[in-house]
Symmetry: C2
Subunit: 215 residues, 2 copies
């Protein structure tokens, strides 16, 4: 009888531990979601064209991805049908300038929407960028960035995914939706974060309690 009691106690405790493990494992699979507002990445050449020779962008705020930052400077973007003011510049400078906007923005500007992975700008929409009296014309580079998840290799192991894989991610929020074909981007300079644009954030009513899970 005494032994039976002990066996039961041990069993109960083991069950508790298992439950705790499951919970922790479950939490470990939560993916933080960030809504990316419209922004622009500029090449060194275009920074000089817009701000003058040898100009250095002023870092204002660090972003979730290490080394990336928002700048103090803002620019205006212009399409055939509309203008958007105060577009934030993200640094550091890139090889090619790229404007990341939403489908809502494309409609307002009157430019054709191209849904692309960052960097894949060949043949995408052109756009005009100005800073006061200085103007550059980008013949291509205005894109709607496909949603994606940044992570390092340790996080990739934990989530059991690999670089360039496409996954489905359920957003837990007031308006739950599942994004299909979400691109995994693994790099040891990254930190776990899923990036979606404002249209997507509004569609799932993203707020600070929302998170994603690969399904």
């Amino acid at each position: 009888m005494e032994i039976e009691k002990i066996v039961k106690l041990v069993k109960d405790q083991l069950e508790q531990y298992n439950k705790k493990d499951q919970l922790e494992q479950c939490d470990e699979k939560k993916i933080p979601i960030e809504a990316s507002g419209r922004h622009i990445h500029l090449s060194y050449e275009d920074i000089e064209n817009l701000f003058g020779k040898g100009y250095d962008l002023k870092q204002k705020k660090e972003l979730s991805q290490p080394g990336q930052f928002a700048c103090e400077e803002r620019v205006r973007i212009i399409g055939p049908k509309g203008v958007i003011e105060n577009v934030i510049i993200l640094g550091p400078a890139r090889a090619k300038s790229q404007v990341e906007i939403s489908l809502t923005d494309c409609r307002k500007l009157g430019i054709k929407p191209f849904i692309k992975n960052s960097g894949d700008i060949l043949g995408t929409a052109g756009i005009i960028v100005t800073n006061k009296d200085k103007t550059i014309i980008l013949n291509q580079g205005a894109i709607i960035a496909k949603n994606h998840i940044h992570m390092n290799s340790e996080e990739a192991r934990r989530l059991d995914v690999r670089d360039k894989q496409k996954v489905k991610v359920k957003i837990h929020s007031e308006r739950p939706i599942i994004f299909e074909e979400v691109l995994i981007r693994v790099n040891d300079s990254f930190r776990l974060s899923m990036h979606i644009d404002y249209d997507e954030a509004n569609a799932c009513s993203l707020n600070k309690n929302s998170y994603g899970k690969i399904v």
Copy 2:
């Protein structure tokens, strides 16, 4: 040998029929998707308050749901932070006035977003509605309409769903997403159509080739 040939012929034909059946069944399960722009439904009382005693709204265009129509008249809606002009009125008059807007609109207007089923307006955000010099103050009724599917009972049978059921719907488009918790609304005056708002339409890049399927 002759018999074997005949058996094979019959088998092949049966297979063809089965494939055709599957295809047709497949197409029969496609759900047309409509993006609902922001709009307002007005009560008789509020129509008179905004347009004068005994005023009849002018029907401009029939909508996909039989009996529903867009009106010629437009109103302005005003929140603490912003104004939206040219908001379309949908007829006929309803028991209570209701403004259906997107989360993007809520942000612009500065009003709290309430994601609700149509008609469920108790305790939702207030809003001001004007037509020229005439103004009404709605103490509640500004909502973000939850996505839903209208259908008649024949269509409900075909799709194997029932009134008030919640389903998951995959949108087939350039940016495929799955909406969870989509409300089924069955009424024999309805015609099969899923209604989503502009944030949701932009999030899945809805165009004329897009369609939904219950998954």
